[in-house]
């Protein structure tokens, strides 16, 4: 694990280093702040657009709003939020995303442990195959999946529990998320200190104990970083939900938003507000897990 906290390049000790640093200091700030601002500009534009009346959006660019701050309104947001079924759709998004993030995390970390630490037969071959599965295009998989769902009733409520109607899409997202999970986590797990694992084995610890007591606590960053990716992916998914969830009462926000848009008109005011509403939850997840995220993606590639 990285234990070096100090900035690597903070104190050059050679003369040339100091000169370079002094010379580069202010251009560095200008470049960095400039790039960061430029990079954020489209998002800021979207944010301001989401507060503008629909007729303004089609007449002038978002920066014109600065000259007429009084024109800004929360109306677009209230249109999206108060449209019939949006609250339910928000809950549905959570019902879909949370299990579809946790499942591949659990199954993926168990499998990754096996691929990293249990030398069972055909291990590397299976691993290679799983990595190759990352290429499978969702569009082609939809038909076999939907057949499977119909045959096995995977998109109908069971046992009187409505949320069990999501079982199919949980597994579909899990299957599409697992290759990346196993790929990243396995590469993280094999870099864990071998001495620790072997010492535990000599003490008679079972594989499951090693997994639970050593591998998982040491891998929280990697798990968190994968979790954010899967969360973003599932949360923003439109295609799978559109095709695999038939019942309008179980559709997530992404699908619900498309039902607000008419055939010919492009309702940018609704799209902008909806895009921002959609971003809120993933950004909360991102910022609350950010520090893990930054360390976690060292995953198997750099050894510390």
């Amino acid at each position: 694990m990285a234990s070096i906290e100090a900035p690597v390049l903070a104190t050059p000790t050679t003369l040339s280093g100091r000169i370079v640093r002094a010379l580069s200091r202010s251009p560095l700030h200008i470049v960095l702040i400039g790039v960061a601002l430029l990079w954020t500009l489209p998002t800021i534009g979207l944010a301001i657009t989401s507060f503008r009346p629909r007729s303004d959006i089609l007449s002038t660019g978002w920066w014109h709003a600065f000259g007429d701050l009084g024109s800004l309104t929360g109306h677009n947001y209230s249109l999206v939020l108060h449209s019939a079924g949006m609250g339910q759709a928000f809950l549905n998004s959570l019902y879909i995303t949370i299990p579809a993030t946790l499942l591949p995390l659990v199954l993926g970390s168990l499998a990754a442990f096996a691929f990293a630490w249990i030398p069972f037969p055909f291990r590397d071959g299976v691993f290679l195959l799983i990595v190759a599965l990352m290429i499978v295009p969702i569009q082609m998989a939809l038909v076999p999946l939907l057949k499977l769902f119909n045959d096995w009733q995977l998109n109908k409520p069971h046992l009187g529990i409505d949320q069990l109607g999501f079982v199919g899409i949980w597994f579909a997202h899990t299957a599409f998320g697992l290759p990346l999970a196993i790929f990243l986590l396995r590469n993280f797990f094999i870099t864990l200190p071998k001495d620790l694992v072997e010492a535990a084995r000599i003490d008679g610890a079972s594989n499951f104990e090693i997994f639970r007591r050593i591998v998982i606590p040491l891998s929280v960053p990697a798990l968190a970083s994968y979790g954010i990716f899967q969360f973003l992916w599932v949360w923003n998914d439109l295609l799978m939900a559109l095709v695999l969830i038939g019942d309008p009462h179980r559709q997530p926000m992404t699908v619900k938003i498309t039902t607000l848009l008419s055939t010919y008109g492009v309702e940018f005011h609704l799209l902008a507000a909806a895009a921002f509403l959609l971003m809120i939850v993933p950004l909360i997840v991102f910022f609350s897990l950010q520090r893990y995220f930054v360390q976690g993606l060292l995953a198997g590639s750099v050894k510390t």
């Binding site: 629909r54 089609l58 071959g125 499977l148 009733q153 848009l261 010919y264 492009v266 609704l270």
Partner: protein
Amino acid sequence: MKRRKSLIASAVAIAVLTAGLTATAISAKPAKKHAGTIEVLSLWGGSEKDAFIKVTDAFTKKTGIKVNYTTARDFVPVIRTRLAAGNPPEVAIIPRPGVLADLARQGAVKNLATMGLSSGYIRARYSPAWVKLGTVDGKTYGVAAKANSKSVIWYRPDVFKSLKLKPATTWAQLLAVTKKLKAKGKTPWAQGAKDSWTLTDWFENVYARTAGPAKYQRLFAGKLSFSDASVSSALRTMLQILQNKYLAGGVQGALGTGFVDGIGQVFGKSPKANMYMEGGFVGGIALDQVNTALRPGKTIDSFPWPTIKPAYGHPLVGGGDLAAAFTDNADVRSFLKYISSSEAGTIWVSTGAIVSPNRQVKGGAYPNSLVRKEAKQVASAKVFLFDGSDLLPGSLGDDWGSTLQGILQSPGSMKSKLSSFQAKAKKAFSGG
């Protein structure tokens, strides 16, 4: 070492695959639908959806049959996927007769005559042109649910008045108006050509007026080549207006402008152009979305597409959606009967969202002058031609749009572009 590993990999691959296949072999019975509920799939959202829900609510009140309305903006991919998986909705309202024809030939949709909608019943409500759109190989598979006109040119009456211009009734007049606007330092036209279907609509209107309805029907049915001289001649006519000096932002600007943005260039708060060619629905979008300060008749108005060759007169190019059934049961039968009734049509048109192709729907049911004008145009058209690009099979309509964009961009390459498009069309029409 390497070879051994790849061997292992393939062995494992086979093992996992067999696991997957055996697992799926044990499949249960297909899902049963709830009795008393039908699913209706279409592409409408927003206010169009709200209007349709009003229609289905009245149906539920009357019959007790619930309607689950589902929206798919990308209608064709969703219906294809669900059909392939054996999970279609009970009813779909299909925006493209070309797609309906595909589905009918594949045996996916039901013959309406066997579902209690006799040809006499349909003929009493729809004109022959509409009946024909829902008919494939002599059998009727779809009833028209809504219609719209695409033979409309929108303009700014205020600008026209100040320059003493009049709405054109012939192509020569339209060119004259265009030139005069240009001479007065105004940009005559805007065009949302980034959405390529706006170009296919342009072409269809010109073609119907220069080559005539008969050739039009044959062209979009795959019976006449796109390399035919009539096509390039219509395109050259069209390019008399769609050229750099008459378009806001020039040709390239138009190609980078979307359909709604184009409306904004004519009817927005800071207008840059003065005429816009697109369907009757432009009025609603302009008034509701682009500029609420617009006044019909003062700052926004429309005139019918002018004639080009007097012999062909004013053929109407329009679009529409056809209701078709994937399942035959009592609920679906009563829904189809309802949706083709004047009762449903009257509720529907009163929302201002559509024009009904049902001739039993009275003109007074329409809520405002812009829709009434469109309804009158649809009802009084002597020749009704369905939007040609929507008659083309599969993605060919989109390909046609991209081809027209290419021709607009470099007119010199027209001949080669048309011949390579014809090669595609031939393949698509032969079912390749």
